[in-house]
């Protein structure tokens, strides 16, 4: 079943075309890899899908909704969550509060609703968040023992996991991961792959940007390749590995030199 489709998606920054006429689809339950050399427009594409900024033209359909003009928080409430290449955890909040902030049921109550609830409610009765669920998520990513720690004190690898737990707390159907393995050592890498697999096992569709080929070839069912903002290839890991255009994009002139 189709979950998301982009049509002629394009984004300019001034005169620079960061994403150029990109069409692709995601099916429910897939893990799709998004690769390409530095500056290929991968992160820009994820920023478009998650509403950080709108596309210059083109459309994004997510489960029957046109989301290309929606704001980030609206897109999240429709069921798309994400992590960031450079982590954006809430540093001065505890690990648990990072997840709880995401666990608030914002589909039910807006800011003024929460104000009224805070002032009139009795000792937290009827709060929309679920503490047990937050604890389960921390357990799931292996952060249970850090729950009271400030997020700024976490080592880098763990703050990446905290971002994943935070994203999951919003109960997404589609998770966008922007380089979840960057800066991790080999043993941390395996843990990360395991976590991503298990999230997918729970029925969450995943689009993942990754530079580490071991990770991307290992877990993606399908791979999309961007180069200078354009989609140059799409297929199974094996197909992509052998695609001459992809080899060309990654190795430039060197590939020819060898022949």
């Amino acid at each position: 079943m189709r979950l998301l489709r982009t049509t002629n998606l394009t984004r300019y920054f001034g005169g620079l075309c960061a994403v150029n006429d990109v069409n692709f689809e995601l099916a429910s339950g897939e893990i799709v890899g998004l690769i390409g050399p530095n500056g290929a427009g991968k992160t820009t594409l994820i920023n478009l899908l998650s509403g950080v900024f709108p596309p210059s033209s083109g459309s994004i359909i997510f489960r029957d909704h046109e989301i290309s003009r929606l704001k980030a928080h609206q897109i999240n409430s429709l069921g798309i969550a994400r992590t960031f290449q450079v982590v954006r955890v809430f540093k001065k909040l505890t690990v648990l509060d990072n997840v709880l902030a995401a666990a608030v049921d914002r589909r039910r109550l807006g800011p003024w609703g929460l104000v009224a609830r805070a002032i009139l409610g009795h000792g937290g009765a009827g709060e929309t968040w679920d503490h047990d669920e937050a604890d389960r998520l921390l357990e799931f990513v292996g952060l249970a023992s850090y729950r009271g720690e400030l997020a700024e004190n976490l080592p880098y690898a763990l703050s990446k996991r905290l971002e994943i737990a935070r994203a999951l707390a919003t109960k997404p159907t589609l998770l966008l991961l922007d380089e979840p393995s960057s800066g991790l050592n080999p043993s941390e890498l395996n843990g990360q792959i395991e976590i991503i697999r298990r999230i997918n096992g729970q029925g969450v569709t995943i689009l993942i940007i990754e530079h580490v080929m071991k990770v991307i070839m290992n877990i993606s069912q399908r791979i999309i390749v961007l180069h200078y903002g354009e989609k140059i290839a799409e297929g199974s890991p094996k197909e992509i590995y052998q695609d001459p255009q992809v080899v060309e994009a990654y190795l430039g002139g060197e590939a020819h030199a060898e022949h």
């Binding site: 998650s50 509403g51 950080v52 704001k71 980030a72 928080h73 999240n76 409430s77 969550a81 994400r82 960031f84 954006r88 955890v89 809430f90 540093k91 001065k92 909040l93 509060d97 709880l100 902030a101 995401a102 608030v104 914002r106 109550l109 807006g110 800011p111 003024w112 929460l114 104000v115 609830r117 805070a118 002032i119 409610g121 937290g124 709060e127 929309t128 968040w129 935070r166 994203a167 707390a169 919003t170």
Partner: protein, 327 residues
């Protein structure tokens, strides 16, 4: 004793002490200082909700205070409306201005927002100075009525001309406001505000409606500053454009930073401490004929920022964790 009932006992003792204080110390000047401190507690705590929790640097908070004061004063002197209604009218009109100032905060952040709020507050001060028919300009509005007496049956009547009854009225206002701040700060609403302070893009990615929360917190913060202003108008019975000055905002800011930005107790500690300190400095000022107060505030602010970011509350907490670690 369970920790919960221990906390309750502490609160009960604190409340009893605050209620008994004016009966024990009968000095009118001391009571006046307590009332002044109470007004600053409201101002610093409401500023803290906006700056400390939501991270929105508003340098025009005194404008809300002044709007509340002028609103209630004008309603009472020109239209004869009772101060009891004026009190809430002051809060509500300030809240509307808060909502208005919230709009630029949707697009501006950090220093740009700060400069905009300074502009906002200076414009309002100039309006108060120059709209003579309404505000009497720099002369200020005087002859503002006190809160009208409350009759309890035919035998008891509470007058608000004396400091002592004003003190009790303010005590009720401050306690109710602090209870609301406490509930807001520790709720899902408060956590959402903090997520905005920490990282707006991150907050939006988990569904936080940044614009909605910013407008809400600007409105709420302004309401309580306006409430403080309206109370002040009927207590002092004189309102002048000085109420809206940048110096006033600077005082509020210093109190909050010194006490502990982004904590519930910090602004209370800072407000009480600096109110009494600045009165202590008054006789020094008379001697050297110089505005020593602002110089001291400036020094305190710099020292706080350089050496104790968490303010007094932060320092206290870290000392307590250290002593616990030693045990």
């Amino acid at each position: 004793m369970s920790p919960r009932s221990y906390t309750r006992l502490k609160w009960a003792l604190g409340a009893a002490a605050l209620i008994a204080l004016p009966l024990v110390v009968r000095d009118r000047y001391f009571l006046h200082l307590l009332v002044t401190a109470g007004i600053f507690v409201l101002l610093a705590s409401s500023w803290n909700l906006l700056a400390g929790y939501a991270g929105q640097l508003n340098l025009g908070h005194a404008a809300f205070y002044g709007i509340g004061a002028y609103t209630s004063a004008i309603l009472a002197t020109k239209l004869g409306i009772t101060p009891w209604l004026g009190l809430f009218a002051g809060g509500i009109v300030a809240a509307l201005f808060g909502l208005m100032l919230g709009v630029p905060s949707l697009r501006l952040s950090g220093p740009y927002l700060a400069i905009t709020t300074i502009g906002f507050s200076e414009i309002l001060r100039l309006v108060a100075m120059n709209w003579v028919e309404l505000t009497r300009g720099s002369l200020g509005l005087y002859g503002i009525p006190s809160f009208t007496p409350i009759r309890l049956g035919s035998w008891l009547q509470i007058e608000f001309r004396a400091e002592i009854s004003s003190y009790y009225l303010l005590l009720v206002l401050v306690c109710m406001s602090l209870a609301i701040f406490q509930r807001l700060a520790t709720s899902e609403f408060g956590l959402s505000l903090q997520s905005i302070r920490e990282d707006e893009t991150g907050a939006a990615s988990i569904g936080v409606n940044i614009s909605g929360y910013k407008l809400a917190v600007f409105t709420i913060s302004a309401f309580f500053a306006g409430l403080a202003g309206a109370f002040f108008a009927h207590y002092q019975r004189l309102v002048s454009p000085d109420t809206l000055s940048l110096g006033e905002t600077f005082t509020i800011l210093t109190m909050t930073m010194l006490g502990g930005l982004g904590t519930l107790v910090g602004p209370v500690v800072g407000a009480v401490l600096l109110t009494f300190l600045s009165e202590g400095l008054r006789f020094v000022e008379d001697m050297v004929r110089l505005d020593v107060r602002m110089i001291i505030y400036g020094v305190l602010l710099i020292v706080t920022i350089l050496f104790m970011r968490g303010g007094i509350v932060g320092l206290w907490n870290s000392l307590r964790t250290e002593s616990r670690a030693e045990n």
